[in-house]
């Protein structure tokens, strides 16, 4: 008997380090949050909080050039307002019909996409800068936003991206990374990070592209925080100056 008990106790003691090691990820339950974002909590953690009902246009909750400071250039061809009609035909959906059906189901109100390039472009990226792409989508209600977020996450996962740990953001969030292609004419791999979060009826996706060795999820998360602050009214949400009437081509 004592030997059996001892074995059971040994097993219990051996399990303790496993808990200790995993305890690092406890920030999501209100524990001490780490100073640096992007390393403390499992991807997709929920962080219920204020869940506002936001009005359009979606563009005012995006990241603006002013938020970034100097040395950035707006990617005008990648900047446009989204509506059911032009968004349904993009590769976010398997077909335009599916797009229209889902967007209507979700109560799609409007969306906005924009991008920013660092001055110096690939040369700057090889020295630690990165490209930015931001998508902002507004829905009539929270349920539609939740359903859309689930769809977007499934599309990101299907692209081959891997989930990465990130301090939660908004009411729901997750983060992903993927290494694909190279930067410019170099052999340095290009690393993509995507942060997706929902705040009330708003879903925002922030993507960064940089050089391997320099990039972490932190950069995308910091940009997502700016967008979230606008959604929460903690930062002025100003509609950006319209840049074009460009319509994304089907399949893009």
């Amino acid at each position: 008997m004592p030997r059996r008990l001892l074995l059971a106790l040994c097993a219990a003691i051996l399990a303790i380090p496993v808990f200790s090691a995993c305890g690092d990820g406890a920030a999501s339950d209100g524990g001490d949050a780490p100073a640096v974002s992007g390393t403390a909590s499992p991807a997709g953690s929920e962080n219920p909080g204020t869940s506002p009902k936001l009005d359009g246009p979606a563009s005012k909750y995006s990241v603006s050039l002013d938020d970034l400071g100097a040395n950035w250039i707006t990617d005008i061809p990648a900047t446009y307002v989204l509506k059911v009609e032009n968004y349904a035909a993009t590769r976010t959906f398997t077909s335009a019909d599916e797009g229209r059906r889902l967007l209507n189901e979700w109560g799609y109100q409007s969306g906005y996409e924009t991008g920013y390039s660092p001055e110096g472009r690939d040369t700057a990226v090889l020295n630690g800068a990165f490209y930015i792409h931001v998508e902002t989508h507004l829905f009539t209600g929270e349920d539609g936003a939740k359903a859309a977020m689930a769809h977007f996450e499934s599309k990101i996962k299907a692209s081959g991206a891997s989930a990465v740990n990130m301090l939660p953001l908004g009411n729901q969030s997750s983060a992903y990374t993927m290494t694909f292609g190279v930067i410019g004419k170099s052999k340095v791999a290009a690393v993509y990070h995507q942060v997706i979060f929902r705040r009330g009826n708003l879903v925002t996706v922030v993507l960064t592209k940089g050089a391997e060795g320099f990039m972490k999820v932190d950069a995308a998360r910091e940009l997502a925080v700016l967008a979230d602050q606008k959604a929460l009214g903690q930062k002025s949400a100003i509609e950006p100056t319209p840049t074009s009437n460009y319509t994304p081509a089907a399949g893009n």
């Binding site: 059971a8 808990f19 990226v125 891997s162 990130m166 340095v188």
Partner: protein
């Protein structure tokens, strides 16, 4: 106690099972999100540089100084020429260089040492700082030709003292090369916005009437003085006639003005 034995075994077993399940969930939970760490810097330093001729002849190298430079295909890695930092030296550019505290000192010493000409080339990794994080490095090679041995000796001695006196500079002790040589390292900041420490290594030597400096800049985990010394060996072999000395394709630069033309 005997009566409680089955209960105790059951309790211990249940604790074990619960622990096992929890541990499994924790482990699989951690695997959900891959650690968001870019490719780990796995230092792999170059092997020790021991080649080249220590001592030996004191030849008189002829202009242009550029023909003794290690060409781009003689420097390891995938590099390109940084054109703005590649140029032929004249008295003016030499007198205004890092060798001297001010232009006046530079002018005086350049004339005293009778500099005939110089050349500098900067090779940079095609992938710039990002490639440095993977073991690439920047290389700056400078060659200076003096009218006689005495001028080259004085110039070498001045340069070696100047470099050794820079705050933060560490003296390195690789195998010597040519008629005189010295080596240094200097750790400064990090590579770009990364956490990888950046380090300069510089190998200087004199061969006859020529003074040569080879400087590398790379990530500390990858770098030692050996990369700079290996390139210095290539330059020295050209000065000794052991390797073909080919003038590189010219890049538009100011004309060389030797002392005889000044």
């Amino acid at each position: 106690m005997r009566k409680n034995q089955p209960l105790l075994i059951l309790a211990a077993g249940l604790v074990l099972i619960v622990m096992g399940i929890v541990a499994f969930l924790m482990i699989s939970g951690n695997n959900d999100g891959e650690p968001d760490v870019s490719k780990t810097v796995d230092g792999n330093k170059a092997s020790e540089s021991t080649g080249g001729t220590l001592g030996g002849p004191e030849p008189v190298s002829q202009l242009p100084a550029s023909k003794y430079i290690a060409l781009i295909n003689e420097v390891p890695g995938e590099n390109e020429v940084n054109q703005s930092d590649t140029f032929t030296m004249n008295i003016s550019t030499f007198a205004n260089s890092y060798w001297f505290t001010n232009e006046q000192e530079g002018q005086e010493l350049a004339l005293q040492w009778k500099i005939a000409g110089g050349y500098q080339v900067l090779y940079q990794p095609v992938g710039l700082a990002a490639q440095v994080l993977q073991g690439g490095y920047y290389t700056t090679i400078e060659t200076y030709i003096f009218a006689d041995m005495e001028g080259a000796r004085s110039a070498y001695s001045h340069l070696a003292k100047k470099l050794a006196a820079l705050p933060g500079t560490e003296k390195e002790s690789p195998r010597g090369l040519a008629n005189d040589s010295a080596a240094y390292s200097f750790v400064q900041g990090t590579v770009g916005v990364s956490d990888v420490v950046g380090v300069f290594h510089r190998f200087v030597f004199r061969r006859g009437n020529a003074v040569v400096s080879v400087q590398t800049y790379g990530g500390e985990p990858f770098m030692s003085i050996d990369q700079a010394r290996e390139i210095a060996v290539t330059v020295d072999q050209k000065m000794l006639g052991e390797r073909t000395a080919t003038e590189p394709t010219p890049i538009p630069t100011p004309a060389t003005i030797g002392v005889s033309q000044d």
